[in-house]
Symmetry: C2
Subunit: 321 residues, 2 copies
């Protein structure tokens, strides 16, 4: 681990527990500020301790209330909690709608909680990459548990699953069309299923139906999904839900599963960073370089197809090193 | 344009109007079958004629009914219609839930219509890349208009916007949380807004509110969004909606806007293909190459950070050409 004094000032402030420095560094990461990359590099050795838990589900199932309850529970156990909310409303605006109001009340004035909402688009390199790095900053900042909240109806939540070690899907008793999806293989979706609003009619049936589906398979590690009825509003079932998360975390610790998963995720991350850099350099050279520009003109004129143009660019990339 | 006889057999069958060959080639494209790439390369010179129109909006706003109406209208005008539905239910399953049932009834037994639903994940290179190529196949097959349907609450619909020349967002009178998003800049979201279910209370207000927002700005081309009330169920407003799409298409034809947009999209596509190839090659070499494997071990041991490892891989990529 690098000595604190050799860290860039922004990174040093984060390690020292400066919340405003953390918030600024997160913004810099979102903007792909080169200075942020220096801090990320320097802080990497101080990460790997926090557990990242994904929480996903459609709008309106009560994810925010549940997160409030989990923060309560985790704080009562003396754990520091970071929350990263990937904001689904903002793919278009680039801003963060949910950031405008405080939905997570438990966080008010508690130094052991840090909240951040992030736009789900506009990140060079993608939201998954930005989220992964924001989680690292929260990890280096000293958070024990990082909850990553996404709205589950698209690509983003799947990408986030690759960052979290345990994923919770939150559902409500009346699943509707969701059931079709779930039948396709519960174990591919999450390790823990939370049937929220368990005081509503149909909750028992939904829990039983899901449990039956869960009995049909396991994920690639051999984990069979857990189904937990919860009423986040009333505060019931939350302890059982967290126990299910802990059971999966314990399962990961056995037989080198966590290390294998971590290595796989790191491989994807490193390759992703190289891809991103190749993209940046090529896009830049298309504007600057005359040969590149005329290659593109020929593609537009349909004199050469995009795949063949890409083959040529790839060869030139490897030749010009 | 390459002579038909020099096309790969699969591509030749598509040009000849063989629907089953088209369906097979689309599947091959989705699977990134190398043989499909050969067909795509060969068919590229026969593309560029079809207009690709994006149709996005939340679940339950009546997109399918609207698409049925648009098919009716376009067929009555003698236009051939392709529909690509990006299926939001399938990010987890890899299969296509909607594919199981026919939602678009107008297509039954009509040679001038071709439907395809695609999973929104599991495509090497991403759903946008696969969708773009499927649209090219439909274009080469002779479709005049290609409607690309997505569920609007995430990343996918934004990516699809980069493929379509005109995008329609479908909304219902009670916008709820959507309004916050829309305020952020209507013109960033779509060129045409369809307020569906215009027979419901609140439709006039919603149309007026949206029109007021639309008056506030234009997109980068200078287009001001159009707002059209529609009742897809009753079949009213659909002609006006299509007229709005045509107005935008006409707008694009002026002042070289379409060509500039096309060139920008092609640049992104070509760069994306190179990135994808770099990713494939590096992922492969991480498994095969001992030096690569040990680099990854050092990242996992936190002896080197992912950014520095990526820098090294990038240098090696360029040296080893």
């Amino acid at each position: 681990m690098s000595p604190v004094l050799r860290l860039p000032p922004a990174a040093r402030a984060v390690v020292a527990g400066d919340r405003r420095a953390l918030a600024r560094l997160i913004s810099a990461v979102e903007d792909r500020d080169p200075a942020a990359v220096a801090s990320l590099k320097a802080l990497y050795a101080r990460t790997g301790r926090a557990r990242i838990i994904g929480i996903t589900g459609p709008l309106g199932v009560g994810k925010s209330t549940l997160i409030n309850r989990l923060i309560e529970l985790l704080r009562a156990r003396g754990l520091k909690v970071g929350v990263v909310a990937i904001d689904p409303s903002s793919p278009f605006s680039g801003g963060s709608v949910l950031g405008d109001r405080i939905r997570i009340e438990k966080a008010q004035g508690d130094d052991g909680v840090f909240l951040r909402s992030m736009a789900s688009r506009g990140h060079a390199g993608g939201v998954a990459s930005a989220t992964r790095e924001v989680c690292r900053l929260l990890d280096a900042f000293g958070m024990d548990i990082i909850l990553v909240e996404t709205v589950g109806s698209g690509q983003v939540d799947v990408e986030i699953r690759d960052i979290a070690s345990t994923s919770i899907v939150v559902l409500v008793p009346h699943l509707g069309d969701e059931v079709q999806t779930l039948k396709a293989g519960l174990f591919e979706i999450a390790e823990v299923f939370c049937v929220n609003k368990s005081d509503l009619p149909g909750a028992e049936t939904a829990t039983r139906d899901l449990s039956e589906l869960a009995a049909l398979g396991t994920d690639r590690d051999g984990w069979r999904p857990t189904v937990v009825p919860v009423s986040a509003q009333a505060g019931t079932g939350v302890e059982t839900l967290w126990a299910a998360v802990e059971a999966h975390e314990t399962f990961l610790n056995a037989d080198g599963r966590r290390d294998r998963g971590e290595r796989r995720r790191l491989a994807e991350e490193v390759v992703g960073l190289v891809r991103e850099r190749v993209g940046r350099e090529l896009t830049g050279s298309m504007d600057r370089d005359r040969d590149m520009g005329s290659l593109l003109d020929r593609v537009a004129a349909r004199a050469i197809d995009p795949h063949s143009a890409a083959d040529r660019l790839y060869r030139e990339l490897r030749r010009s090193g």
